[in-house]
Amino acid sequence: MIEISIAKSNVNMTLPLQEGISAGFPSPATDFMGLEIDLNRDLVLHPEATYYGRVSGESMKGAGIDDGDLLVIDKSLEAVHGKIAVCFLDGEFTLKRINIKQDGVWLVPENDKYEAIHCGEENNLIIWGIVTHIIKKV
């Protein structure tokens, strides 16, 4: 049986502020209680448009993206020059930097071993989403 569940994590990464011992003078920190660092809130600007993906390969090494990294992808953002995008090309998702030039759109890897791809109409390119953060295990 399958239950419908929500993608948003209900486990927040929080760094709680410590409450002082309440004897005598009231803690001035009480005004600030409830403030916490929530990575979901800070890394996910548009929860409804945010998806996650796993990197496979080394072609974006120069941009600091390694094999196995977790990507935060925002579909709501526009594909503008210089952004790193999840593209759908020739039947698979692939990671490239977008380079818009006079002669059209170039998908540029960040690794000398690979070459930039020029995208014409015949390639059927889909920019699926824009990478906003890279999460890596150290």
Partner: protein, 418 residues
């Protein structure tokens, strides 16, 4: 003005979000146990694959036209639905979610110029799911406007507004009587027999006749069709009954097999019941043999077990469901289908204390803990011993897509190899 936003071929469109290679290709989504077709992309509709078609009967068509099949993946559809509903909420001050893939939006006193296109564009860009939008002065007409938007995507660009008498008449003359929102098959057959074939014909009927033949419900439909809003805007209400019913992939003859199934269904229902903060008073259990196999002995029986107190404890509900099963089970039959329905709800907050044999108060906190553990460890990690003891049963889901949005092990892989 009311808006109705409805996703186009929702389940099929969800599958396509993470499979852009399937754009413009025929897709069908199959029901539980991969039994019947429950959603089709436009391309699959064009192949004349009907809704509800048994999958095995259409195997040749699927093969011949390269139709991609999917087992239904409600974790994925539910997540995308939540995203869409959250987006829609930002466009209006009140919203009524009508089903997993459609919602009414209240635009009373607001300008709607350009709003439809904005909604459509945003939902498509943010989630990848195409929607159609209809606007009209009543909910029933908003449904109709949406139907027009969906039927004529080129002319309407997926958005249609009924905002003049002329457009209203034209739409009513186009809409078939059986497609009017709220008119069931029985009524539409009756109306067709009287040569009332279009919604427009229906609006010409006398109030008295409608009231006599279709009660006030029919009268309300007429008023709504004429542009007078009489249907309330309903913000989400808890459901009045909860059911889990399944057709098995094989026949069961043993009591133990059915006991496992019924316990599992009842446990599932109980969890849903707690999710909406209700308790129930009765549980219905039914078992059926295979109706289509006339050569086999037939036996269909159901029973309602009234629980002497209100509860939403899995332990208590499963116990009473099994008491019911024991009463109706007969050996010597091959069972193909069974189900559990919980009924007679009351809010979880209004606990009546019974002097003798009330609900076990300890179960309340126990169930909270169970739900919490299951939420973090995955579905049904913690369950009753009677559930799934020998893993007798497993849903047939041969074509299940990954849970791209709800399980981190299933997220898309992005190649960085070229």
């Amino acid at each position: 003005m009311f808006g109705l936003v409805d996703c186009n071929n929702f389940f099929a469109s969800c599958e396509r979000v993470f499979r852009p290679d399937l754009a413009h290709k025929p897709i069908v989504v199959l029901s539980n146990n991969d039994g019947c077709v429950i959603a089709r992309s436009n391309e699959a509709k064009a192949l004349n694959i009907p809704m509800g078609a048994p999958a095995y009967q259409y195997k040749e068509v699927f093969d011949k036209y390269n139709v991609t099949l999917f087992s239904c993946n409600f974790a994925l559809y539910g997540d995308l639905s939540n995203r869409i509903m959250n987006i829609l909420r930002t466009h209006c001050f009140r919203m009524e979610q009508y089903s997993i893939d459609e919602a009414f939006l209240d635009f009373s006193g607001c300008k709607i110029e350009g709003v439809g296109l904005k909604i459509k564009t945003q939902v498509l860009k943010w989630t990848g799911v195409p929607v159609s939008v209809g606007f009209a002065p009543t909910k029933t007409l908003a449904k109709l406007a949406n139907r027009i938007a969906k039927k004529f995507p080129k002319e309407t660009e997926g958005v249609y507004v009924i905002d003049s008498q002329e457009k209203l008449i034209k739409a009513l003359k186009w809409l078939k009587i059986e497609d009017v929102w709220g008119i069931g098959r029985k009524s539409s057959n009756k109306l067709r027999a009287l040569n009332i074939t279009k919604a427009y014909d229906f609006t010409l009927l006398e109030d008295n006749w409608i009231k006599a033949n279709m009660s006030v419900v029919g009268l309300r439909i007429k008023q709504e069709l004429l542009g007078k809003s009489v249907l309330d805007f309903q913000e989400l209400e808890p459901r009045k009954n909860i059911s889990v019913t399944r057709t098995f992939d094989k026949n069961y003859t043993k009591f133990e097999e059915l006991r496992e199934r019924i316990a599992n269904f009842a446990a599932n229902c109980s969890e849903k019941l707690r999710n909406q903060h209700s308790c129930c008073h009765s549980v219905l259990v039914f078992i059926n043999t295979n109706y289509h196999r006339k050569e086999l002995d037939q036996y269909n029986q159901s029973i309602i077990v009234n629980i002497p107190f209100e509860t939403n404890s899995t332990i208590e509900i499963v116990h009473h469901a099994l008491v019911g099963l024991k009463r109706i089970f007969k050996s010597g039959f091959e069972y193909k289908r069974a189900g559990v329905i919980l009924m007679n709800f009351s809010p979880d907050t209004s606990q009546q204390l019974s002097l003798f044999g009330g609900r076990n108060i300890k179960h309340i906190s126990l169930m909270k803990t169970v739900d919490k553990i299951n939420a973090s460890l995955g579905n049904q990690k913690l369950r009753l011993g009677v559930q799934d003891t020998n893993r007798i049963w497993k849903m047939k889901q041969e074509k299940l897509s990954p849970n791209y949005t709800t399980n981190i092990a299933d997220i898309i892989t992005i190649k960085a190899k070229s």
